[in-house]
């Protein structure tokens, strides 16, 4: 899942990026309002974590307002060091989905991100994704096939997470690159193939009767249950 982090405080941005990356998110950092707005409007993102006070022409409120005006409905989690009720209301009214006051607990940020990226049909309390006999535990970052627990590397987890959020949809390699890796990563389509192969080795190979990762020749990949 790809996140944009718009934060001008150098240290906070770096620490958050580091923490979020180690949770399997692909994180882009924008350090001022103008870069943040450009990225929020143009990049394929799954979530924006937005600081409210930013240098440059656009602050957090202006960015989220612009996004909503252009019909970009990516969830926005706003961060702020100001906690007056009026500040919070202004943020939410502008179109932010949630609000977190600095300093916050990193655990809480993670939980809120999970809530904001939870798909509408996934309302149960346990943070997991399900498709057919395949389950992805978002907290322990492991996959379950039936009762077998399958350990995943961080990138494998992020990749499977993206596929499971878009089941039965053909995803091109480019789409996969954009949602699984961040802006700075220099990824070739071959890398995607390699990761898909590794994932397939873990979740499909040991189970000959039923497969999930399908190759769509000439287009890309698709998560779909196929019984052999």
């Amino acid at each position: 899942m790809r996140l944009l982090l718009v934060e001008d405080e150098y240290k906070i941005a770096n620490a958050l990026a580091r923490g979020l990356s180690s949770e399997g998110y692909a994180v882009d950092i924008a350090r001022n309002g103008d870069d943040g707005l450009a990225a929020a409007l143009n990049d394929p993102l799954d979530l924006v974590v937005l600081d409210r006070m930013l240098p440059g022409g656009y602050d957090g409120i202006a960015i989220v307002r612009q996004m909503r005006e252009q019909n970009i409905m990516t969830p926005v989690l706003m961060l702020t060091a100001k906690d007056a009720v009026s500040d919070r209301v202004a943020g939410l009214d502008a179109g932010a989905d949630d609000y977190l006051v600095k300093p916050f607990a990193f655990e809480e940020l993670l939980a809120r991100i999970r809530v904001l990226t939870r798909s509408s049909d996934q309302k149960e309390s346990t943070p997991e994704l399900r498709y057919g006999g395949l389950t992805l535990d978002l907290k322990s970052k492991t996959a379950l096939r039936g009762l077998d627990r399958i350990d995943l590397s961080l990138k494998e987890f992020t990749l499977l997470d993206y596929l499971m959020r878009n089941p039965e949809i053909v995803l091109s390699k480019q789409q996969i690159i954009e949602h699984v890796w961040n802006y700075d990563a220099d990824i070739l389509p071959n890398t995607v193939e390699a990761f898909i192969a590794m994932l397939r080795n873990k979740i499909d190979k040991p189970y000959p009767d039923e497969s999930y990762l399908q190759t769509v020749r000439g287009f890309g990949y698709k998560l779909e249950r196929q019984v052999k």
């Binding site: 958050l16 440059g56 100001k82 300093p103």
Partner: protein, 336 residues
């Protein structure tokens, strides 16, 4: 916030109007009593005069008394309606004026409350940001199961930086909050005091490839040396922070009449004219310094400078330098 004030204004207006109405009522009833008494007497006198002039006609006593009463009653009714009209006008105009007056009365309260609010909001931002940095860095590091000693050292160094920021901010805030009692004033040699001060800043200027030019008259000033050097230090520090590379900072001091004029100017980036007025506000930071995260400042220095100048019995102001490049601070202090 707005609602509180508009309701307070309304309540105050109503109160004023009630007081006004009571006064009017009292006054009117007093006038009415007085005037109806007058009417009574005048009409009686008229009846007597009437009889005297038209003595030959025999008018029925009772009839004339009736007539007089009717006339007097009519006069009273006229008076009543006039008083009522007058009262209504007074109360109407009074209500309008009361509203204006209430608004004016509450304006300074509202201003100071807003300033207080802004201060709290700015302070919370400035105090929470370093805390947020530290908390996030520590929590993220603690989640890392393979944290190396090197990482830990880096984390501690970074945390220490934030602690120092918080410390200097705390010092500054406390210094602003304290009622400044200056120590003894002494006769000091200005050029000596400045020379000592400049030495410290000269090194920093060199490091940042800036120039610091000093032009101080040899004069004696009766003042508090500590406060004066702290004041000049703050201004030099401010210029060193914001003027930018290759800029020149000038410190000049001379006697003008019976006042001491100190100028600290630079030819750096300056600030927008509109912001000159707020430069001494607590936590004010120009956008320039907000954009540049390398500049460590939290906008309290100049507030302290202003407070120090006040305590020394002088004035301080900021202007844009020539061609809108850089800022000129001018301090005027009494020589004696």
């Amino acid at each position: 916030m707005n609602r509180i004030f508009s309701s307070a204004i309304m309540r105050l207006t109503v109160l004023y109007v009630i007081v006004l109405a009571c006064v009017c009522l009292l006054f009117s009833s007093f006038i009415y009593a007085l005037a109806s008494n007058e009417i009574e007497q005048t009409s009686r006198r008229q009846v007597v005069g009437f009889r005297g002039a038209l003595g030959r006609f025999i008018i029925d006593e009772v009839e004339s008394e009736e007539l007089r009463k009717i006339e007097a009653n009519e006069a009273r009714a006229r008076l009543k309606s006039k008083l009522l009209l007058g009262n209504l006008a007074v109360i109407g105009i009074g209500a309008l004026l009361s509203f204006r007056f209430a608004k004016k009365t509450l304006a300074p309260v509202e201003d100071s409350l807003r300033a207080q609010e802004r201060f709290t909001s700015d302070a919370s931002h400035e105090l929470r940001t370093p805390l947020a940095s530290m908390r996030t860095e520590i929590e993220v590091a603690l989640r890392d199961k393979k944290l190396s000693a090197n990482d830990a050292r880096e984390l501690l160094a970074s945390n220490l930086e934030e602690v120092l920021t918080l410390q200097s901010m705390t010092d500054n805030l406390l210094s602003l909050a304290r009622n400044r009692e200056l120590g003894d004033k002494k006769l000091i040699e200005l050029d000596r005091l400045m020379a000592k001060l400049v030495k410290k800043h000269q090194q920093r200027a060199k490091k940042q490839s800036m120039k610091l030019v000093v032009d101080v008259e040899k004069i004696k000033v009766y003042t508090n040396a500590n406060a004066l050097s702290q004041l000049i230090s703050i201004l030099l520090d401010n210029s060193l922070k914001y003027a930018g590379k290759e800029s020149t900072i000038q410190l000049a001091a001379r006697k003008v009449g019976d006042r001491l004029h100190v100028n600290v100017s630079d030819d750096g980036v300056g600030i927008p004219v509109a912001e000159l007025g707020s430069i001494f506000d607590r936590f004010y930071k120009s956008d320039v310094s907000r954009t540049n995260s390398r500049i460590k400042g939290h906008g309290l220095g100049l507030s302290i400078a202003k407070q120090l100048t006040d305590a020394l019995g002088g004035t301080i102001r900021a202007d844009l330098a020539r061609k809108n490049k850089g800022i000129v601070f001018t301090i005027e202090l009494p020589l004696l």
